[in-house]
Structures are given as C-alpha cells and as structure tokens.
Subunit: 324 residues, 2 copies
DNA sequence: TTGAAAGCGCTACCAA
DNA sequence: TTGGTAGCGCTTTCAA
C-alpha cells in the first residue's frame, strides 16, 4: 500500500496528496527502500537493456582500435538513454533463437553477422528489434543495417596501389571473418575494384590465414609474386608487418600493406600502417541510437545505413621494387 | 500445466513419464516455446548476471592495453560459467546505493573504487557479493580485493631510476585517478620508495595533470628540474612521450619515463615504454571467478589478493643527462 | 484522491 | 509420479 504510493510518487502523474507523498518519501528513505527493478522489468516486459551479439567472440579486446572505438560508440548512446548493455556468452554459443526472445533484452545489437541459415531465421523471427553492425545491404534478414561502403574502401585502396605501380595485389582475411557478411563483401569489393582497374583476379589472389599465424611465404615465392596486400583488419595487417620484419622483408620496399579501419592504432605500427578508414565509433553510436529509438517508438524500418570509407596513406605503401 | 511439465523436463530430476515428456518436448518445439528468463530470474531472485562498476567511466576503450586485458579476463570467466556481464550507466552516475540492490545483478565487480563516504557505505550495506579490482587492502569496506603490489612496483621503478643516476624523480597522475584508492596507494608507494632510497620527497614531486593536457613544462623548468617521471598509466605515459616529441625533448636522453601496466601497448610507443607490469587479465579473471564462486557458494570471505609487480625495461629510461 | 485486486511467467511446494 | 496452488514485487486498472 505504501509501496504503491511510493511508486506513484515516482511516476509522472502524481495523483497523491502532497502530505502523503512527503510521508512516503520520508519513510522510504528511512527504510532505504529500493524498488526491485527485476519485478518492474518483469511486469512491464521491458528491461531497458540491450544485448550485444558477436557472431564470433574470440578474445574481445585486443590492441587494435576496433573494439575500443566500437564500445565507446555504443556506451555513449546507452549512457545517454540510460540503457544497460549486456554481453552474454550464450548469445554466441547456443543457437541464437534460443536466446533472443527470452525477455532479457529490449533489443539486440548484432555485430558481424555470419548469416547462417539458423541465425538468419532467428533474426527474422525475433520479437524484439535487432540492428546489425557491419552487415552490407542486400544479404540477410530485413533489419536496419550499419555498414561502411566496402566497395568504395577497396576501390580507394586498389587504385592507390595501382597508381603506385602495383599489379600483383592480394587480399588477406582470416578464417573467422571470411564467412561473415562483411568478409564476403570485402572480398567481392576487392575483385570488383581490381576489375575496375583492368586487372584480372582469381581465388588465388585471396588468402585466408589465421591472424596470428599468417605465413607470408606463399605470396613472396612463385614466379609472379604479389607485391601488395590489402588486409581485412588492422590487427592482421599489423601482425603481417611484424612477421615481415622477422623474415627480413622490408615494408614498404619489398611489399606494400594496407589495413582496414584506420584508428590511432595505425600510427603505432612500424612502419605506420596505410589503412582504409571507416567511422567505427560513429557507426556504433548511430546503430545503438537507432536501436533504442526503435525500441521506444516500436517502429521498425529496415533500411541500410552506409558510411563512406576513406584512405589514410601512411608509411606502409610504396612503389613496387623494380625487378630487373 | 504443459508449461510446468516442460520445465520439469528441463530440470535435473525428471519425474515425468517418458511419454508425457516426449509429447511436451514435441509440442514445445512446434510452438517454439522459450521459457521467459526474466520471469525465471524474478522467481528465483537470481539473474545470472554480473554488473560492472567503474567509479570513473570516461571513454571506456582507448588504445592502451588496460581495458582490453581487463575485459578479456572478465569475459573468459563469465563465459565459462555462463554468466552475463552488464555495463550500466546508472551504476556510475547515480549514488551507488540506489542501484546495487535492485535485483538486477547477482554480484558486482567494482573497479577502481574511490571510497567516497557514500560508495563505501553502499558497498558495505550491499546484499549481493561485491569484489573490488584495483583496491589495495586496508582501506574501505571489507570485501575481497584484487590489487597489484603497488609498493613493490614503485620500489622497482624508483630503484631502477636511482641506479641509473636519477635523484629528481616525480610521480604523475591524472585528476580522475588521483582520488581512487589505487591512485592514493601509488602516490604513497612512490614516497615510500623514494625514502627507501634516501631521497626526500614533497608534494611538489607529484603532478596531477589531465591525461590529454599534460604540460611538461613545469618540471623541465626551475633550478632543479625533474629528470625522470613515473606515470600512473600507460596511456598518460604515452601521451607525455608524444608531447615531449612535440616540444623537442628527447626521451630518454633529456627525461626518463616509466609507465604502469606494461601491456603490449608499451612496445608500440616511440620510444618503447619502460613500464611496471601487473597481470591485469589474470587479476580480472580471478576476481570474476571469486565473485561467481561467492555468488554460488554464498560464502563471503573478505581478504585481499595481492599480485606481484614487475618492471619491464624498454627504451624510455636512461642515465640523466650530465649537467656540467 | 485513495485503496484494492489482478496478473506478468515462472518455480517451489504440497497434496493427491 | 503427477497436478494444483501460491506467490516473487511490481504496475495497471477499476472501484470507492
């Protein structure tokens, strides 16, 4: 009875006598009364919490700038609107449909979807709003998608290398990323950009290596070795740089390398990494805000938000060594 | 009724006829029935979720290795035990006692406590287990604390500098960290280590600067300028390195700099940063596991877990320039 | 303006 | 072994 009043006192339309309200507040203070948020969420079917799903969770944080920028963007948005963010293992390991609609989350921020049949189905069946990050348009279920313009990014990178004189260019990706929608989009963008420059490509121009065990050799051997690499991520690019150093391969003299994301991390590598840029933090911020506004407005448009890429030229690209 | 059976069917002691159970499972599958986890949590007063509290949330992720290492540790532990982790703005902004016991969390991982009167009180009043990270023993409420041995770390750093010939050594910290328990512990450790080397110190030997607006000048001016800095964090140390470069101050020739944490990030600065090491990821992993086991066992010892520090000597320290 | 009652979905307990 | 019932703490609605 006191309880119900207190809650009213907290609510917007206070229809309680000033005196009563005062008493209630006082007593509540003395008792250190705390409304049980779980019960409230349960009653209202609203948790004010967003779930974060990554199709692949390895180690979350690494030294590259991606996760830091991403989390900063998400947190800025959730903090402003007083939503909580939950990172949950089951979201990744179990088949996603088991976990999406269990009442815990008001919405889901789904990163780097792999669009397996199962995840696609559970996404489209979801009863709560879902927004995807790093998901190119066209593919997959009809939910709002946030993605950089991968075609543009790869076009900039390829054209930069071609202008420098490269013709033997390869794309490098790791096995976890390769099946994701963005992995496929970048590979496609690479082939397209190469064709745009009049260079034929084949599947031999795409390498799929584990980030930490890259193996530079195949491309440096052979009669017509690749002279430039475009790498899916900063981190993989940086690990290639390090490997090259160990093998006595000079970058950019012997091999040009371009990474993807272009955070401040690229200024810390040696040589400093030329990289395609995408506004990760802004994208994460926008995606989270769109998710929240869909949760609150219950409107649910399904369009793609595409962000332009840039190319930040640093020190890891140069003309190919002339082979006389 | 079907519901209750299904739930029994999921429980450990299945006391249901095989046939009935089969039917239930089939129907549940057809209906894509999902138990509502919110209701379950509500009923059991158990959410299987841990809350993460930082006394100061600025930007969560930066390029230094701290947050990445920390989150890796926490995630490894929560993933193994199927707990979720929630980062929640209110946990920081509101007075903490409003939020601790609202039923959302089974336990709290509290990082870098500032031990204000209010937070201390709400911590000791908490009805759920709390574990503190980066909280030296002795101070604050009686909960399990995980902390590196700051005295040891600063002793190593000061002795290293003294061996190189430095006597004018300062400690640098930022205004957000300075009031935290660990900030105070490191400042105290600095004074103690200096005394241990027979060097008098005063409050003039501790600088409190904003991380990104450090201002190297004061210490390089004066008749008896400091020749070496021990800095609270990697990130602030790195920002000092960068500032020094801009001012034409050579490190380590003109000024020696030591940071704190010694993650891989220290290998990416120029010059590579000499740093005190603490096993952040391990500490976060252990702290989370202790928290979880306290949640499940409902036992709640209040001891401190102290981790030894090391000193990783890289390139940012050298003998002081001789001033003839 | 205030009080009383119903019910969110689940689990624990008790009775059959 | 099974089915029924109560109730977690809150909000919403309806009656006084």
């Amino acid at each position: 009875m006191a309880v119900s009043k207190v809650l009213h006192g907290k609510g917007a339309n206070v229809r309680v006598g000033a005196e009563t309200a005062e008493t209630i507040r006082r007593v509540a203070g003395e008792l250190r009364y705390q409304p049980n948020r779980l019960a409230r969420s349960f009653r209202q079917q609203k948790t004010h919490t967003i779930g974060l799903v990554f199709s692949h969770f390895g180690r979350i944080g690494e030294l590259d700038g991606y996760f830091a920028a991403f989390l900063n963007g998400v947190m800025s948005a959730t903090f402003q609107s007083e939503y909580g963010l939950t990172i949950c293992p089951k979201l990744v390991k179990l088949s996603a449909n088991v976990v999406i609609n269990d009442g815990r989350f008001d919405g889901l921020l789904w990163c780097k979807p792999d669009y397996t049949a199962q995840s696609s189905e559970s996404i489209s069946r979801s009863e709560i709003p879902i927004v995807m990050m790093h998901a190119p348009g066209g593919l997959g279920p009809e939910v709002p998608r946030f993605c950089c313009d991968n075609e543009m990014g790869l076009k900039l990178a390829v054209e930069h290398l071609v202008e420098l004189g490269h013709t033997r260019i390869a794309f490098v990706i790791d096995p976890f990323t390769q099946p994701t929608s963005e992995g496929r989009a970048r590979i496609a963008g690479f082939h397209m950009a190469m064709q745009g420059c009049g260079i034929e490509t084949s599947t031999n121009d795409v390498y799929c290596w584990d980030v930490d065990h890259s193996g530079l050799w195949p491309m440096m051997a052979g009669k017509s070795p690749h002279t430039a690499l475009i790498v899916f991520s900063e981190r993989q690019a940086a690990s290639l740089l390090k490997e090259a150093e160990g093998l006595g391969i000079s970058i950019p003299q012997d091999l040009s390398v371009i990474g993807y994301d272009s955070t401040a991390y690229c200024d810390t590598t040696r040589p400093r990494l030329t990289a395609i840029s995408q506004p990760i933090e802004q994208m994460a911020f926008d995606a989270t805000n769109v998710l929240i506004s869909y949760i609150e407005a219950e409107q649910y448009p399904s369009r793609s938000f595409i962000y332009p890429c840039g190319l930040d030229i640093r020190e890891s690209t140069a003309r190919p060594a002339s082979r006389c």
